[in-house]
């Protein structure tokens, strides 16, 4: 990541306090405006009339120029400079996150809007977007599990994969059921060779383990062994939710209110024993919050090297000051010269 922030600063800002002298000086010069030069006592000044020449008009400007010169040199003394920061973020090895997503039929339940699966997809994509330094993988499971995307840093592909999770397609290919153990184990399998500092599985389910060759507890043991943290998310409202229970003649689902059953004890246990955390998402908002808290819990170290490019800007100020003083001196001793 490369960013250029330009801003303006003073190296010695305390010198700017000296600018406070300038108004005092201005008042002093005004009070003593007639005492600075040698004067000639004359018998009747009114004889010259009230006519004012350019010189009369320029003369007060000299004092102004002196004040400006002083101000400019004070500003120059404070050393103004512009800083451009080039920040280079070193891609530290982030954490590897496997998303184990339940795609069983019950995920179509409409307690989350529009349904559990769609809500999950949306929040998962946001989650991925928010963690640019981590690698992601996606495992889908129902009665059996398969790896949709292996661990990769190519977030585009991961997000695309999540977006493309299509229930109907999966419904025809995967065995039915909810094999939490299988899903977890598949995810673990993908993570076990990873060299990332931290390995995380986010396991999402909305039911109870009811099928599969690997028991969730076995998978838990595996997770512990490989040092993989498992965050578990139980999706589903408390009580009843419209859930697909049967197919009608055209292949569509028939929804009935069914009691939401989540094996919270198991999920809690998995989370606790691997050092993760169990969350319960009862609606979209809650789900979103969960992802945010996981985001916070899993911090990625980002090393950032900043390059400061200073551009000293005192030169024009000092130059202006010197130039003004020079002009003032020049005018005073040539054009505005007094011979008394």
């Amino acid at each position: 990541m490369k960013g250029i922030f330009e801003h303006f600063e003073f190296l010695n800002p305390y010198y700017l306090i000296l600018l406070g002298i300038v108004p005092v000086l201005a008042v002093w010069i005004y009070i003593n405006r007639y005492n600075q030069n040698a004067k000639m006592l004359y018998s009747n000044v009114a004889d010259f009339g009230g006519f004012k020449t350019i010189k009369n008009k320029i003369l007060p400007l000299l004092s102004l120029a002196v004040l400006l010169a002083i101000s400019a040199s004070i500003i120059g003394l404070a050393r103004p400079r512009s800083v451009s920061v080039t920040a280079k973020t070193k891609k530290t090895k982030g954490i590897d996150i496997m998303l184990a997503i339940d795609v069983s039929a019950s995920m179509l339940a409409r307690d989350l809007k529009p349904n559990r699966l769609e809500a999950l997809k949306k929040t998962a994509i946001n989650f991925i977007k928010r963690r640019p330094n981590d690698r992601f993988g996606v495992v889908l499971y129902a009665g059996e599990a398969f790896t949709q995307v292996p661990i990769t840093s190519d977030h585009r592909i991961v997000m695309q994969a999540v977006r493309k999770i299509n229930f109907n397609q999966l419904f025809n290919t995967l065995d039915q059921g909810t094999a939490i153990g299988m899903g977890l184990a598949t995810a673990i399998n993908r993570l076990k060779d990873s060299k990332a500092k931290s390995k995380v599985v986010i396991l999402m389910t909305d039911g109870v383990n009811n099928t599969g060759e690997i028991d969730p507890l076995t998978a838990l043991e595996l997770a512990k062994q490989f040092g993989i943290k498992v965050y578990t998310i139980g999706i589903g409202t408390n009580g009843y939710a419209p859930t697909p229970v049967a197919l009608d003649s055209r292949g569509g689902f028939i929804y009935r209110n069914a009691k939401v059953e989540i094996d919270e004890k198991l999920l809690q246990k998995i989370a606790d024993e691997t050092g993760g955390k169990y969350f319960r998402a009862t609606d979209n908002y809650e789900l979103n919050k969960i992802y945010k808290s996981i985001d916070k819990l899993e911090k990625t170290e980002i090393k950032e090297t900043k390059y400061y490019n200073y551009k000293e800007l005192y030169r024009p100020w000092v130059l202006a000051s010197v130039l003004l003083m020079f002009i003032v001196g020049l005018l005073r001793y040539t054009w505005l010269k007094s011979f008394i």
Binding site: Y34, N37, A38, K39, M40, L41, Y42, S43, N44, V45, A46, D47, F48, G49, F51, K52, T53, K55, N56, L59, L336, K337, S338, F339, I340
Partner: protein, 288 residues
Amino acid sequence: MTTKEILKKVRKIEIKTKRLSDHIFGGEYHSSFKGRGMTFSEVRPYAYGDDVRNIDWNVTARYRTPFVKVFEEERELTMLLAVDISRSEWFGTKTDLKKNMITEIVATLAFSAIQNNDKVGLVLFSNEIELFIPPAKGRTHVLRIIRELVDFHPKKNGTDISNTLKFVYNILKKKAIVFLISDFMDKDYDQTLKIVGRKHDLTGIKVFDPMEKDMPDLGLVLLEDLETGKKKYVDTSNKQIRRVHNATFLKRDDYFKKSFQQAGAGVIRISTQESYIKKLLQYFKQRS
């Protein structure tokens, strides 16, 4: 100025101007301010030693004894010196300040008057009457006049000629020789001048500095007005400003000359770089 310095200066002025009045002015002054000479007073019987030219033959014939006319010298003239001591006199770019020149002129005139047995009085004025010394005779009196001139500190700075003329008119009951010495940096005095001029033998002596007439190119100069104290930067390089300055001077000078001439008074103009002796002499000669 300490008393010693003042006395020294007075002495110096005395020597310088007394010599002048003795040797050069004496006669000129005398003849230019003539009294009526001798006036007849009475007749008395001839006594031995009387000038036979004074015998009044008419009376002698009537009484058949010789009588002579007795003449009385006409009363001495009074000279009043009205001197401007305003701050503007403290200016002078040539040999001396206007003020010092005025002092010398006054001293010369005063000694001349004493020489002639006239009474001398002094009025010092700015924009008010600062000092009045009544006319009197004697060397010490003149010395006092000079001392006052040298060491008088006016209370006011301005110049008011009209006011001074009114004062002079009020204090002088008889015809007198009045010298008004100033730089005449004032206006609207022609009416009072006429009134005074009708009664007295009036002369205006204007003392000025050449720089007051023609300002040289001095660049941008800070000027402080001696009378008002106002300060101002004046671009003396500017021709227009110099022209205005010169025109103002000439206008005032013209007014001075015209007013005095209309009042039947004499005019002497002396620049600080000139010799005032010559100018005075010239004036007296021209009068007689």
